[in-house]
Symmetry: C2
Subunit: 192 residues, 2 copies
DNA sequence: CCAAACCTACCAACCAGTAGGGAGGCTGTC
DNA sequence: GACAGCCTCCCTACTGGTTGGTAGGTTTGG
């Protein structure tokens, strides 16, 4: 583990909080410069180009997400509770106003104008999350804890889509509680 | 009906096709200029500022959507078929590669960086669509054609969220058929 | 003649990115 | 232990291109 070079991490953290507000084209090196306290030219030293910065940012986000899901899976035995915890995590993000949006869900909408290398990472996140959800649903169904309406894969894709759509609705309504209001029935419906 | 001034309409149509690709900050007056064949300065004559242009664009989109939903409601008697037709419309958009995304769904993600006047229109679209869906679900439930799992409003919000999320997934996967694959089970589940 | 529509010619601000240099730390060699 | 060389990090200064927007004049059609 390298705990050094907080600078690159500062830049990444700052860029993430900026990108979460409005996507790839909504922030500039100057914005990062102001917050982190570094010149724009120095950012290029850490990340040659903007596409590199965002690619690393998304890759790191993906790693964190995977680690979080794994941790969640190991600390919570019941599949239904796992889904509950997953949605609860996001509900907490909206409540805190911390980072009330999935980086990849936001970037997915902008894919046609995204650098290919970034789009690849976004795509990978969608697959990764859908895979995880599919696994949870399969196990839940096998244990008789969850009642699927189609294949585990199909239900997982729908679960993910509803979650992402609920984020959009929460933003559109300007109501942080909307996310929970939309996703909670999702759990009730799927519970056996 | 004013059929005059195709120029302002040209600009709006062009801006819409551009905004659908990557949102508010992904296009410029120069982009419109190249396509429409007009100087950037002339665009300001029709729309004083970019926020005006996009506000009118979204307002017009909203009108068209409302008209489309009304037309759909009058030509198709069965509520389930109405939902099917609504999803079918978007499935067609993805297949044609015409405008494979809801303008407002895309802009909703960017709300924190959107001019307030635009955000208001986006919010209004979400309410409008949710209202329409709520009406359809209510009627479907009353006729015994649809089986709701919560209130009509709650189911409508979830239906809308899933639809928007399916658009994101289709983009992320780079697979136009994904939208249909995700939303089709939505209908089967709700059918009585 | 008037007004809408469109033009050329600007503008200041901003964009990502480059060139080149200086400060400080680490390492190898005598 | 001293010194040279190098590497990382960050700086100032600058570039060419783009951004949304303005001023003011010209064309065009009723």
């Amino acid at each position: 583990m390298n705990t050094q070079s907080t600078r690159a991490d500062d830049i990444l953290r700052c860029a993430r909080s900026l990108i979460v507000r409005g996507g790839y084209n909504s922030f500039s090196y100057a914005d990062i410069s102001k917050v982190v306290g570094i010149r724009t030219a120095s950012i290029h030293h850490h990340f040659p180009g903007k596409s590199d910065l965002v690619r690393v940012l998304v890759a790191q986000y993906r790693e964190e997400a995977l680690a979080g899901l794994d941790r969640l899976e190991q600390s919570i035995p019941d599949p239904l509770d796992q889904l509950r915890a997953y949605l609860g995590y996001w509900e907490g993000c909206f409540a805190d106003m911390a980072a009330p949006f999935c980086v990849c869900a936001l970037l997915a909408g902008e894919i046609p104008v995204l650098p290919e290398e970034v789009a690849v990472e976004v795509r990978a996140h969608f697959r990764q999350l859908a895979d995880w959800l599919t696994g949870v649903l399969e196990r839940g169904a096998a244990q008789g804890r969850l009642r699927l309406s189609g294949t585990a894969r199909a239900d997982a894709e729908m679960f993910m889509a509803t979650t992402h759509g609920a984020m959009l609705s929460a933003r559109a309504y300007g109501d942080a509680t909307a996310f929970g209001a939309i996703t909670r029935p999702l759990l009730e419906r799927i519970a056996a």
